[in-house]
Structures are given as C-alpha cells and as structure tokens.
Subunit: 326 residues, 2 copies
C-alpha cells in the first residue's frame, strides 16, 4: 500500500486550495518587517497536515463551512508559532530545507513572530466568537508546553517508565493532532458523540505518530529521512523502543546501556551499540506492535460514522502514520 | 512630593495581599520542573504595578469583585510571560537582581514556561467565560509583538520620525498598561464611557511611562537606576530626546551625531558626545515637556469620576510615572 498526504487529502483538495488563499490574506500584516517574515514562512509551507485533518474531520461529521476555515487557520497559526519557537529553543539553522527564522533574523525576531502568530490565532477566534475553539486550543498550548517541560525534567534522570513516556508524548505531540480533529468536528456539528469520537481518534493517532517518530530514529538512514539516525540517542532521550528493550533484556545489561547513553558525548560506536541492544531485545518490534494496536483502536473510534470519502481518508491517515518512513 | 507604588496602592492594599495568595494557588502546576520554575518566579515578584492598576481601575468605576481578581491574574500572567521571553531574546542573565530563568534553566525551558504562562492566562479567561478579557488581552499581545518588531525594523535605518516613535511605544509599552486599566473597568461596570476613559488613561500613562524610561537612559547614573547609563545608545536606538535634539540642532550636526550612533561599537567618548548633543539641544527638556502634557491629558480623562481614594491614587500614579528616577 502506498500512502501519501496528497492522496489522503484528495476529498478536501479544493477546500485546501481555497484555504491557502484564505490563510495568506489572513496573516498579512501592515508592519513591513513582520510581513516579510510572514511571507517567508508562507513560501516554505509544509504538507498542511493539520488543516487537512481539520477539513477531513469536519467532512466526516457534516458540512465544511466558513467556520471550518477559521478552525483550520487557528491550528495552522498555532502550529507555525510552535515551530518558530522550537527552532529558537533547539538552535536549529534549517527548517524544511531552508534557513530558519532565527537563522535569518535572529532569536529576538523569531520569539516575537511566534508570539504574534499565537496572538493572531486567538484574536481570530475571539473576533468570530468561537469560544469552544479558544478552550480547545489554549488547553492544547498548555499541554504542549507541559509535555516538553516534563520531557526536559525526566531527561536528567536515569530511568523513564512507560507511563511517563506516554504522558509526555500525549501532551507534547498528540494534543495538537487531537485538537485538529476535535475543532474540525466542532466547526460543523453539535453532536457530542461525534466531537468526542474525533477528539479520541486524534489523540490516539497522535500518540502513534510520535511512537513512529521514535522508531524511525532507530531505523532510518540519513538518505531516507533527511536527518541523521540516532538523533534522540545523541540527545540522551529514552524513548519507547529503548524502554521495551530494557524490560526484555537482563536487568544488568539494561542498566549498562542506560549508563552508556547518559555518559558524556557519545561516540558513533556507542550509538551503534545502543541501537543493536534495542534491536536485539525486540525494542523496535514491540514498539511497532504497540503503535499498531493504538492505530487499531483509533480506527475503531470512527468506525460508527457512515461511509464517506472523508472517513476513508481518515482511516488511511491512521495507517499512514505508522507506515511512513520519514 | 514623594510618590511610591506602595503608597499609591494603599486603597487596594488588602485586595493585593489577597491577590498574592490567590495568584500563588492559581499558577501552581503538578509538573515538577514547571512548578519549581513557577515558584522561583513567584519568589522574585516585582512591585505588582499591573495588578495594582487593575484593582484601582475597578475601584474607581465600581466594586472590586472576584472578576477583578481574574482580570488581575490574567494581566500578571501575560506580563510575566513577556518578561520571561524578553530575557531570552535579550540574552539577559539577571532579572530583578537574581539570575533569569534562561540563565538558570536555559532558553528552552524559558521559552516553554513563557508559552505555558500565556496559555494558562487564556485558559483562565476561557474557563470563566470572560470573552471581553480575551479580546482585550490578545489585542495587547499582538500589539506588543508588532511594536517590538517595528522597533527592530526601524533600528536598521538612519532616521526615526516622531510619529513612528509614538507608534512603537504605544504598541510596545502602552498597550499592556492600557489593558490593565480597561480590564479593571470591564470587571465591574458595563458603562462604556467609564471603560473608554480608563482605556485612554492607561494608553496615555503608558506612553509617558516609556518616554520617561527613554529620558532616564540619558540622565540616570548607574547607582540610582541599577543599570548603566546610555544602554539605548549602545543599542543604537533613536528615542524621543534624540529625535527632538536633531530637530532643534543644525541639520548637519544632527546628521553627524546619527552617523556616530549608527557606526560600529561605540566608545565611551562617543556615548558622552551623543548625550551632550542631546542635552545641549534641549532634547531632554523637550521630551519632559511632552511627557508632562501627555500626563496632563491622562489626568483629564479621569477627572469626571467622583472623588474616591482610588481616583486620587490613579492621579498620583500618573505623576509617579514622570517623576520616577528608576
């Protein structure tokens, strides 16, 4: 099976095209420097995964309306704001293959543009009196920062249990994906069963998305994903494959590997050693099984919806998340 | 006349004390690292100027209620978030005499804690269905980032006209002070004349506040303000005293001074030269006159309110803003 975002977004393709124009007009500013930065951001736009989810979630629940466009703008603004801030905190020089905002205009401009995008998103919701959107998205912002901070806190410790891992990735990654699906539903229906189903679907898909990311860090080759293998290992992060491998291995061997991981700058040989440990102790395969069962659950959440092209796409998206290689 | 914030806050002192407890409980988090950072922030709390303005603005318009406490929390969260982000963008090591968040926990934690505080503020407004607060505060966040970005943009140019200067400081500084006063009024009255008067008062006082800041940069001595003189000059900022001095001086002399200001790293001698130019050409005295006339206007905006301790304090606050030496 070959899956791609462009194939998945097919049922809402015309809306996405219209959205691109809508969004471009929306985020323009009269302030010259700001406008230049915003246009730079627009030029480097990604695959628009989040607006796609908003539109598909609206379409599975009812009719796409102008309110859906507002919802999609809100999550795209929020997502863009977090990317701009992420590049500052990670001191990243590149984003989507071109220089990051902080690399071109320095940290000061990047932090301010991020804040501007956050405020702009909230203002749009306020202006349109979309108070459900506000509640959903500000919860999401809070969860994202809490998740990141919990991860930083735990990274200083020598262990990470499965429960904490899932708490971190739910808050850090799944919250925004869940928000996309919930807000899409809210844009078109009052049916609380529909809204809850989409929220749950998004949360589960988001969790599986992050597990797959963590798996790819152990498996991918530079040429495939455009980023070097073992990034998380270099940053001394304990993720699900390693957690499972430690559970499966002899206790002393697990301890030794964690000690290696947490000790100073890692040589390429140490990284290879850790990867081998994880593979040999079924860390990757078990993480894949876990992601599979979560995706199974996610698909179940939306099974009761009547058949539609949007439903098929959302089922495909669930598969895409765990089958992607980058 | 001796003025101080503690004297000005007298009529609402008991509310401010209660607010400190209210706020402390409000911003606690179950996430350990986050909670440690939040408690660190609480310990270093400043003079609570912004909550004081919220309470006084409510008291001049009517009764202080629980809604006023929510309003005060919202602006304090917003203000704290911007301070934490400011220290990141300015690479500041200290805040209120102790190490800044970014100095203790690195940029990553600081940006995330700032985002968390923003989200937390918005969530509180959403939970209490305070949609007027949301509109007012998100406009304020947008204006603050736009103002800062306009300032950065203009700092690359060799001129700054008076009009642009006022646009920058209105957005950058006055918007949040205006928000404090407006939101305080909104917390207790529907009277649109009252709300407008407090909003305008805050905007004018905020503008004068920034003019005074810019004047102090030319006048203050390190021992008084706890920061070295000529910081703005070192950062090559053109502020009101210099704008006026250039208007008053021979054109060629003004041009020469701006050329000095904008050329590479400034020697102490060059800085002294610029300060002398500004003083000799009445830049400071004219900026003071301007601030005085703005404060006169601000006081006029609230003159129609019936006499009350809160009104006296707000009139005093207006005076304080242009008479403070730090």
């Amino acid at each position: 099976m070959s899956l791609s975002i462009s194939e998945i977004s097919q049922p809402v393709a015309s809306h996405l095209e219209e959205f691109n124009v809508f969004f471009k007009v929306l985020i323009r500013s009269k302030a010259a420097l700001l406008d230049i930065v915003l246009r730079y951001i627009l030029k480097q736009r990604g695959k628009r995964v989040r607006p796609t989810l908003v539109f598909l979630s609206a379409a599975i629940c009812g009719q796409i309306t102008r309110r859906t466009y507002i919802a999609a703008s809100l999550v795209e603004l929020l997502h863009t704001a977090t990317l701009v801030h992420d590049d500052v905190v990670d001191e990243a020089d590149k984003r989507r293959g071109v220089p990051s905002i902080n690399a071109v205009w320095k940290n000061k401009v990047a932090v301010l543009v991020g804040d501007y995008l956050l405020a702009k998103g909230l203002l749009i919701a306020v202006e349109h009196e979309e108070f459900d959107y506000l509640r959903i998205t500000s919860t999401s912002v809070r969860r994202m920062s809490e998740g990141e901070l919990l991860q930083i806190q735990k990274s200083r410790q020598k262990t990470l249990d499965e429960e904490t891992y899932f708490k971190i990735i739910s808050d850090k990654t799944a919250s925004l994906i869940s928000t996309c699906c919930e807000i899409g539903a809210v844009s078109t229906t009052d049916n609380s069963e529909y809204r809850k189903a989409m929220k749950d679907y998004g949360e589960l898909v988001g969790i599986a998305f992050q597990i797959q990311d963590d798996i790819l860090d152990y498996m991918s080759r530079s040429s495939i994903v455009g980023k070097p293998i073992g990034n998380d290992i270099r940053e001394k992060k304990i993720t699900l494959p390693l957690i499972y491998a430690c559970q499966n291995a002899e206790k002393s061997k697990g301890k030794a590997i964690i000690k290696t991981l947490k000790s100073g700058k890692l040589s390429n040989q140490s990284i290879e050693e850790i990867i081998e440990f994880v593979i040999m102790n079924n860390g990757i395969i078990q993480a894949q099984e876990k992601a599979n069962s979560i995706i199974f659950e996610a698909k179940n959440k939306i099974a009761f919806f009547p058949d539609s092209p949007a439903k098929i796409s959302l089922l495909k998206f669930a598969e895409y998340v765990i089958n992607r290689t980058k």
